[in-house]
């Protein structure tokens, strides 16, 4: 595995900052002074609110104060200088040069590192453990297809997202599949663990600070993505934006970063490099989710009260992470990672030779989606948003098709259906808080319901709407689910209690949600 040329050549921090400032200078040329002042004022306002919430931003405060003075002065020159200064600072925070040495070391020890990545305080410890998580991870889909396209263009890897452990998991899967490394945006909070920061910053992670809400920052982040994709650097984004709080497979995606693939491709057509950009759906299905208890509780908060960033979940407890990893590592095929059909930036499927395919399977000339009759790129933001919406629909379809139904999901759905039947008219919020006496289910009824759900999954699978890895016998399926649920969480989602089964409605809801969106939820989903 030596094929990491683009990311290996990743430029220095000042070079990237210069490129980002250059993009802004071009953008500001056509902007009226009043709009420029609004833009800077927006950042000043949002950054100062952020400073009020958290302390310790000395350098950043100076940049923002300078921007505030520029707004007060109001001249184009002062405002442009302020934008340059902010963008340079953002660029320096976002970019980390890739280290081939760190990558080489990490990939040699990654099987062990996956278990230790988050908890080790000393890099040398990485070499000590020999657990191989590989046997627990089932990699599905056409990896050769993805590899072939990695040779022909720049890839955007677009995974589903449930856990902070997804990034190291994906890093490991890429390595084991013989795929090149990918740059990925990691939340600034993840860099607070020095060990994580050390590795992530050298393995292609760039910093995303989701607390920065100003337009200048958001645009700079997108510019950065366009910039590195244009330099041929494969990139990973979680298009759901954040971990799925409800446990559902992503149905709505954030279009901002996703759209940068289309922009980078058009830039390459415009500057003559002609380098293609392809989008790879990656669907993660896990029997257990480390942060399930926190995530589902957050998802049950009424609209507006959910936390965009959760800093105090199971992931922030190294001991819990270690316990999760070591226990999950003892489960058979606990994790399924499935590569989907690769797409072009408009959402069409792509063959191994990099050709886009139309609905009839014929090769189509995708460049004509963006070029005019003279072969020049027609820049059109509004059109690109609709194209990106189309791409996002293709991704969502792929996520659902490539999702693997596992025993914990099926048992949870069956249990939830029985709870619903026993409590007609009760909405989800009341059902998860149902009294202890209402949390008991007859084992026989649950097994029968599991058999029903498994049949429905089999029918969906027949139509290629979902994948599954389930034992045929519903009793065996229930036993497997019970055993897996007993592995990690502080509470048991489903647990035998004498002749009956006791359920935890919150956790059952979370795991059942993985099968949401297939029309098998039962009444009142």
């Amino acid at each position: 595995m030596t094929d990491y040329p683009a990311i290996f050549r990743s430029p220095s921090i000042p070079a990237v900052a210069d490129a980002l400032v250059g993009r802004w200078e071009k953008r500001l040329e056509d902007l009226p002074v009043s709009a420029l002042a609004d833009l800077v004022a927006d950042t000043v306002y949002k950054e100062r609110r952020r400073f009020e919430e958290e302390a310790g931003h000395t350098e950043e405060v100076a940049d923002v104060d300078a921007a505030a003075r520029a707004v007060a002065q109001g001249s184009r020159g002062a405002l442009t200088t302020a934008v340059r200064r902010l963008v340079r600072a953002y660029g320096e925070e976002i970019h980390h040069p890739f280290s081939s040495r760190a990558y080489g070391l990490a990939t040699r020890v990654l099987p062990a590192a996956l278990t230790n990545l988050v908890t080790a305080s000393d890099p040398r410890r990485l070499l000590l453990r020999e657990t191989d998580p590989g046997s627990r991870i089932a990699i599905g889909g056409d990896v050769e297809h993805v590899k072939a396209l990695a040779e022909r263009g720049t890839l955007i890897l677009a995974p589903t997202h449930l856990s902070n452990l997804d990034s190291p998991l994906i890093g490991y899967v890429l390595y084991r599949s013989g795929l090149p490394p990918f740059a990925y945006g990691a939340g600034l909070n993840l860099f607070s663990n020095p060990m994580m920061a050390f590795w992530m910053s050298r393995l292609g992670a760039y910093t995303v600070d989701r607390r920065k809400r100003g337009r200048i920052y958001k645009e700079t982040l997108k510019d950065y993505s366009v910039e590195i994709l244009g330099r041929g650097c494969h990139s990973l984004f979680f298009p759901g934006g954040t971990r799925s709080r409800s446990g559902r497979v992503e149905a709505k995606l954030k279009k901002g970063l996703l759209g940068t693939g289309l922009l980078a491709w058009q830039e390459s057509l415009s500057n003559g490099s002609g380098r293609d950009v392809f989008v790879v759906p990656l669907t993660l299905s896990t029997s257990l989710v480390l942060e399930a208890e926190t995530l589902v509780r957050d998802s049950l908060c009424r609209e507006g009260k959910q936390r965009f960033i959760i800093a105090d979940d199971e992931f922030s407890e190294p001991r819990q992470v270690a316990s999760y990893l070591s226990r999950v590592a003892n489960l058979d095929e606990a994790v399924h990672v499935t590569f989907g059909q690769v797409l072009d930036p408009v959402g069409n499927p792509v063959d191994n030779d990099g050709n886009s395919l139309g609905p009839d399977g014929g090769v189509i000339d995708r460049k004509r989606y963006v070029l005019d009759a003279d072969g020049q790129v027609e820049w059109d933001d509004q059109r690109d948003r609709v194209y990106t919406e189309r791409l996002s629909r293709s991704l969502v379809r792929a996520y659902h098709q490539d999702n693997v139904a596992l025993p914990t999901h099926v048992a949870a759905l069956a249990a939830w259906r029985l709870l619903r039947k026993a409590n007609p008219g009760m909405d989800t919020f009341r059902l998860v808080r149902i009294a202890r006496s209402g949390r008991q289910i007859e084992r026989g009824a649950l097994v029968a319901e599991i058999a029903g759900v498994a049949d429905e999954i089999a029918a969906l699978r027949q139509r290629e709407k979902i994948r599954s890895a389930l034992p045929r016998d519903p009793e065996a399926l229930l036993d497997l689910a019970v055993q897996r649920f007993a592995t990690f969480h502080s509470r048991r989602a489903i647990e035998p209690s004498g002749p009956r089964i006791s359920v935890d409605p919150e956790l059952v809801l979370f795991y059942r949600n993985r099968l949401h969106g297939y029309g098998i939820e039962g009444a009142d989903s």
Partner: protein, 299 residues
Amino acid sequence: MNVGVVGGGPIGQALAALALEANNEVLLAGKRVRRKLPLTEDIGEVGAFADLVMLAVPAWELRRTLTAVRLEPRHRCVLFTRGLDAETGRWLTHLIPALTPCVRVGVLAGPLVAAEVFKGIPTAVVAASEFREVGRMTQEGLHSPRCRVYTSLDPYAVELAATMVGVLAVAVGITDGMGLGVGTRGVVVARGLAEANRLARALDVDPGGLLGLGGLGELFAATSHPKHPAYLDGRALLDGQDRKKSEPIRAAATALAVAKESGVELPLTSAIHAIAHGKLGAQEALRMLMERPAQEGEL
């Protein structure tokens, strides 16, 4: 710009004539066209020629037409076709990217009366697409001193409105044929719009389209024009003629199926469908509609 029109019926010819007036190169695919228009019998030739393709074919011919026209990624395509896709119950505009590589699609609707177009009478249409450039190009394709082209970014609102208007025009044809008064016509139009409004909401579509050129504008023209095809369908039904295959009756069947799935009642549309399929006489349908339980609220 090169504008291709597929569909040699009155609407296709009217669109081709308007595109010529708007100073475009035009090619119309059709047979036996009476007027002097640049014509071809080869639909594929229109695809090769045009930047903007306008399709004015009946809904049930759309699939076959799309195969023949050979749309490509470079095309922008607008549909002047009413109804929902009978096979999927989905929007007809969705059929184009589902069957061809062309994704920049939209819908064209409005009170376009072909005979008036050929007399040079002023008119207006709406071009609705999620892609702003499709609206802009349709303006370039049709806008002239006597044809105004408005644009919208909500194709579904326009598509639904145009679909339901055809059904309502049939209803007005029936009530007129029964010799009922203008008051009854007013009731049919208002209650018809109310049920279209319910369907729009159930499908999460902006009911505002019903008040636009493709909704009220077209409905007013259709019900005031004794030769409007949908209106004539209504009259023909009263005479016992078979109109099951006409565009608005097929549209009614699909709308009812979609409404049933969404839990919405469409009493007027149901009545028209029943009359067209010989399950109810017009008088009986009228009685049943009038005897429905009294209701609170208008919508």
